[in-house]
């Protein structure tokens, strides 16, 4: 469903260009959920944005549902890929009600029965009728993220991109959102590509996990292998150790500066 073939992404151009992702190859079959982990600046969000069509890529090929895509997309290609952003406070327009936020994609794609669609998608993400005409400042963080998920779902996409969808939320709310996402994935047969620095979040939702560092994909492993500590790459081991919590041995061996990144 999603295929990236030796993709290189750089910010800027000419001699001052910064290569954020180098030679990235990954395939996500239909219905599968793949997670990308890595420290800040490892390029995982950049990959997601290139797949979404928010930034251009210089080299390689991104294929969605068998068709090569560039940064400029047709309306149909836009409809197929939707994204949920990290910060539910920044991803909703502050002056628009939930209803207005959801009505815009309906208007853009000239979908029929807009009213019914909005009501249905709100029910699907667990929001009631009383939330429909509220402004974002009248909603909690978890409710906002549900609105953001509803906005992505109303176009009935086949691919859902998740950019740290729970990292701005309370721990208890995180679990609710993750359960919502796995239910939606089951119900709609969504293909998911998710980015997070939290291994537990990724392992909850994804079967396969790609580990990134400094713009490169180091290894692709499975959630089970991660849980059983069966990983091949040194960096992944460090990542696992830093996720397990504070460990005195990682300090004495002088690895904390890398692992904490």
């Amino acid at each position: 469903m999603i295929a990236l073939d030796r993709v290189t992404i750089a910010y800027g151009s000419g001699p001052r260009a910064v290569v954020a992702v180098r030679d990235f190859t990954l395939a996500v079959p239909e219905g599968e959920a793949v997670g990308l982990v890595g420290e800040s600046g490892s390029g995982k969000s950049t990959v997601l944005r290139a797949v979404a069509g928010l930034i251009p890529y210089a080299v390689g090929e991104i294929t969605l549902a068998g068709r090569r895509v560039e940064r400029r997309r047709t309306t149909a290609e836009r409809k197929m890929v939707q994204m949920v952003f990290q910060d539910p406070y920044g991803s909703l327009h502050p002056n628009q009600t939930v209803d207005q936020t959801l009505a815009m994609p309906v208007a853009i794609h000239r979908l029929d029965r807009g009213e019914a669609r909005i009501a249905r998608v709100l029910a699907e993400v667990g929001l009631g009728r009383e939330h429909r005409y509220r402004y974002p400042y009248q909603l909690s963080g978890g409710q906002r993220q549900r609105v953001a998920i509803a906005r992505a779902l109303i176009l009935e996409p086949r691919i859902l991109l998740l950019d740290e969808p729970t990292s701005a939320l309370d721990v208890s709310v995180q679990a609710e959102i993750l359960n919502l996402l796995s239910r939606l994935r089951r119900d709609h047969g969504l293909t998911m590509l998710m980015v997070s620095h939290d291994l537990a979040v990724i392992a909850h939702l994804c079967e396969r996990i790609g580990v990134m560092s400094r713009g490169q994909l180091l290894e692709v492993t499975t959630a089970t292998a991660m849980a059983n500590n069966q990983v091949t790459h040194d960096y992944t081991r460090q990542l696992l150790r830093s996720n397990a919590g504070f460990d005195r041995s990682s300090v004495s061996s002088g690895e904390l500066d890398v692992a904490a990144g």
Binding site: T75, R78, V81, R151
Partner: protein
């Protein structure tokens, strides 16, 4: 403010945390903004002054006889205030009260016309500059710089000299030099929200540039532009009055406040009211717009 709204009242409907329709949500937001604005007494007095100006302009013929503003009664010239002439009469025996009342129409016309020209032009230049950036930004902002370099009053003088004096030309001259700050403001506001995730989300949904600008960015720019316009009103009124004073704005016998001050300056020491009353009118209206603008700015700050 502390009391909870009584159920079933309009107030409860407006403050409902769960509005049932688009209309209710919108009115509720306006009502909340109004509640914030109402707490500011200075802003309320500014609003009262501006409201009074508008009412005076609309109902001018009901307040005074329309003819008395230009009716010359030469034997009654330069009379001090009396029951018949509350503000006295000018050097041609015209009732100054009637002229001030009808002058509000001219002032309001100039202010509204300048606003109607300046805001769309400022947005049309500033929004694309901030949104697209790059070459578009450079070209549009250099054009803005050129217009910013024109001295307002001198350009207005040149305009009036070329096209002949009159309100319309005064409005064009003022508008031509007043829009660049609005373009800069709109650009700056656009830049602050250009990279926001809700803009990217709209882009992902397939929204065109025009739709993103119109539905996502304009609602965020408009409040600060309107506040700026309100604060600029005083300056616009003063420039219009200045043009009137120099004889390049509204032409006699139109009761323009600036021209009235001008005509009273020969008799300023002996018949002080002739120049002072329209001067006070200019002062009060300018102050009113400034207070209103400050209040609007405070209300919009506290809400975000």
């Amino acid at each position: 403010m502390a009391t909870a709204p009584v159920p079933g009242t309009a107030r409860a409907w407006l403050l409902s945390p769960a509005p049932a329709s688009r209309r209710q949500a919108r009115f509720g937001r306006w009502y909340r903004a109004w509640l914030g604005f109402r707490r500011n007494p200075l802003a309320m007095s500014g609003l009262a002054i501006v409201a009074l100006l508008v009412l005076m302009a609309v109902f001018a013929p009901l307040i005074v006889d329309p003819q008395s503003a230009t009716l010359q009664v030469l034997q009654d010239r330069l009379q001090p205030a009396s029951w018949q002439h509350p503000f006295g009469t000018d050097e041609l025996g015209r009732d100054i009260f009637a002229r001030v009342v009808f002058g509000s129409r001219i002032t309001l016309t100039i202010v509204v016309m300048v606003g109607v020209i300046v805001v769309p032009v400022g947005l049309a230049i500033g929004l694309p500059a901030g949104y697209f950036g790059g070459v578009v930004d450079t070209v549009l902002m250099r054009i803005t710089d050129i217009f910013l370099a024109f001295p307002r009053l001198v350009l207005a003088l040149a305009f009036a000299a070329a096209l002949g004096p009159g309100i319309e030309n005064a409005v064009i001259a003022i508008a031509l030099t007043a829009w660049p700050p609005y373009a800069r403001l709109a650009r700056a506001e656009t830049l602050t929200c250009r990279r926001a995730e809700f803009i990217q989300a709209a882009e992902l949904q397939g929204a065109s540039h025009l739709r993103i600008i119109a539905t996502q960015i304009v609602p965020l720019c408009l409040p600060s532009v309107i506040i700026r316009l309100t604060l600029d009103m005083a300056g616009i009124i003063l420039t219009a009055a200045g043009l009137g004073f120099l004889g390049l704005g509204a032409q006699p016998p139109a009761p323009e406040w600036g021209a009235m001050v001008s005509s009273g300056r020969q008799v300023l020491l002996d018949q002080w009211w002739v120049a002072t009353i329209p001067g006070l009118a200019i002062f009060i209206v300018s102050l009113g717009f400034n207070l209103l603008g400050d209040g609007l700015r405070d209300a919009s700050d506290s809400r975000s």
